[in-house]
């Protein structure tokens, strides 16, 4: 069942960037692509649990700030060593300029 949670304003994320969003004891990363589409994934890299908030967004890839592990943030797919496990992704919707994440 969907569990939509208000996260932040759409304008608070720069193009080709991400921000951290914490909800309860969980942490997420919300991305704005170069085409101003929005996506959400788990916040921690699956390699060594480093938060992705300081990472680099390039096109549809997020690169972990610690070891340069790369994921496609649209699909969560791990793109090669040192990351082997995909990121969990979450549905995102925008209503009235506010981003909502379905945290499940």
């Amino acid at each position: 069942m969907a569990n939509w949670v208000e996260a932040c304003s759409a304008e608070s994320i720069e193009e080709e960037d991400l921000i951290r969003f914490d909800h309860g004891d969980r942490t997420f990363a919300i991305y704005r692509s170069p085409d101003s589409e929005y996506f959400a994934t788990d916040g921690l890299c699956t390699h060594e649990q480093v938060h992705l908030e300081e990472g680099l967004v390039m096109d549809d890839v997020i690169e972990c700030p610690k070891h340069n592990g790369r994921f496609n943030y649209k699909t969560g797919k791990a793109l090669g060593a040192p990351v082997c496990v995909n990121l969990q992704t979450y549905p995102v919707k925008i209503e009235g300029g506010t981003i909502f994440v379905d945290v499940g």
Binding site: E54, L56, K66, N68, A81
Partner: protein
């Protein structure tokens, strides 16, 4: 550069260590590092606004294409010149330069492309990474994982597989590596073991199972290249092919060892602040080209996503939060060499580099409070 000398306390040194360090990834210190929270710990970072950081991290192909063309182009010219002058002694000069580009510049290219930060275009990173790995004789799969661990647990005993100054320090082994002797022989020995499908248990600790097949495949390709080179040498009755493929890893290794020793030599182990265990040194432009700006080593460890060509800019931004850099090779070795000599007698000894008044202080973390400070 100002530094303070630190001796371990009388009760048994750093963190009460009363026995010899165990650098094995599966040993006692590996277990203790996890217990003490030193494994995958939170490390100190200087403050940089996100916008500035994004600009520093920005990937571009231009600088790395230029530097790769200079690197490989120079090697091609020097190889032709050496072959033309061979077997005259005049060939030694181009071979000397070729050797440094093969046996030392490959180390920093391997490193930068391993991080994936040299080029924006992925296949360019991967291609140069493979070429450089072959030259420096580091299996590209195995060493990607080993270097990942070096960044997670920098100079944490039992966790970091890339510690050069293992204590008790064996200076003769380090001296031999100026000629690539131990590192390259170890790399070639592993290559042969991997060719026959044998992997060390320690390597299995940091290379995941799904990656091991690729590791063996690369080793087999390398073995085939060396066999072909040796065959050409035998067929032509000349050592020249081996002087161009393989042996430069030995006679050209000195520069990467000279720069590599400065990275962490004489500094602390088992700390979680790169300002305590890494060293930034100002170098001449030629060495910086060979070394891909890794002389900005504190900066690189603190922010490994910043490409090598942006490290001087990063350094300018955070230098007030870091110990003053050493000003040259000579300055770095003047600081490091006495510390290394003292570590031969006292393994707990290290240099605590003084921070400028503008810097955030070192955290009194883990073992720092157990230390007895004495004048340098």
């Amino acid at each position: 550069m100002t530094a303070t000398a630190i001796d371990g306390n009388a009760k048994g040194g750093v963190a009460g260590r009363v026995r010899q360090r165990d650098y094995s990834m599966l040993g006692e210190d590996a277990r203790r590092a996890i217990e003490r929270g030193l494994a995958s710990a939170h490390w100190y970072h200087s403050d940089i606004p996100r916008k500035t950081m994004k600009d520093l991290m920005k990937r571009t192909d231009g600088p790395a294409i230029r530097d790769t063309l200079i690197w490989l182009g120079s090697m091609a010219v020097l190889a032709v010149l050496a072959a033309w002058l061979w077997p005259s002694w005049w060939a030694a000069l181009p071979l000397f330069c070729y050797g440094v580009l093969y046996g030392s510049a490959s180390d920093s290219r391997w490193h930068e492309c391993g991080h994936g930060s040299a080029f924006r275009t992925r296949w360019m990173n991967d291609a140069v990474y493979q070429i450089a790995s072959f030259m420096i004789v580091r299996n590209p799969v195995e060493w990607r994982w080993s270097h990942t661990r070096h960044h997670t647990d920098t100079i944490i005993v039992g966790r970091d597989p890339e510690i050069v100054f293992m204590k008790p320090i064996e200076l003769f082994r380090i001296f031999l590596n100026f000629f690539g002797i131990l590192d390259a022989l170890s790399g070639w020995a592993k290559m042969i073991r991997y060719t026959f499908g044998s992997i060390d248990p320690e390597v299995m600790d940091y290379v995941p199972e799904m990656e091991r097949g690729r590791m063996l495949r690369v080793a087999r390709i390398w073995t085939a290249i060396y066999v072909a080179t040796i065959a050409v040498s035998l067929w032509t009755g000349s050592i020249l092919p081996l002087m161009l493929i393989g042996l430069p890893r030995l006679y050209g290794a000195w520069h990467h060892v000279l720069t590599g020793l400065m990275q962490h030599g004489g500094l602390a182990d088992d700390v979680t602040d790169h300002r305590l265990n890494s060293r930034t040194v100002y170098l001449n432009p030629v060495s910086r080209f060979i070394y891909c700006n890794m002389n900005y080593h504190v900066e690189h460890h603190m922010f490994p996503m910043v490409p090598y060509h942006a490290l001087p800019r990063l350094h300018a931004l955070i230098k007030d939060d870091l110990p003053a850099p050493n000003t040259s090779f000579a300055d770095a070795y003047r600081e490091m060499w006495p510390a290394i000599k003292r570590q031969l007698r006292n393994e707990e000894y290290f240099l605590l580099r003084e921070l400028p008044p503008t810097a955030k202080p070192y955290q009194a973390d883990f073992h720092m409070l157990e230390m007895r400070v004495s004048a340098a």
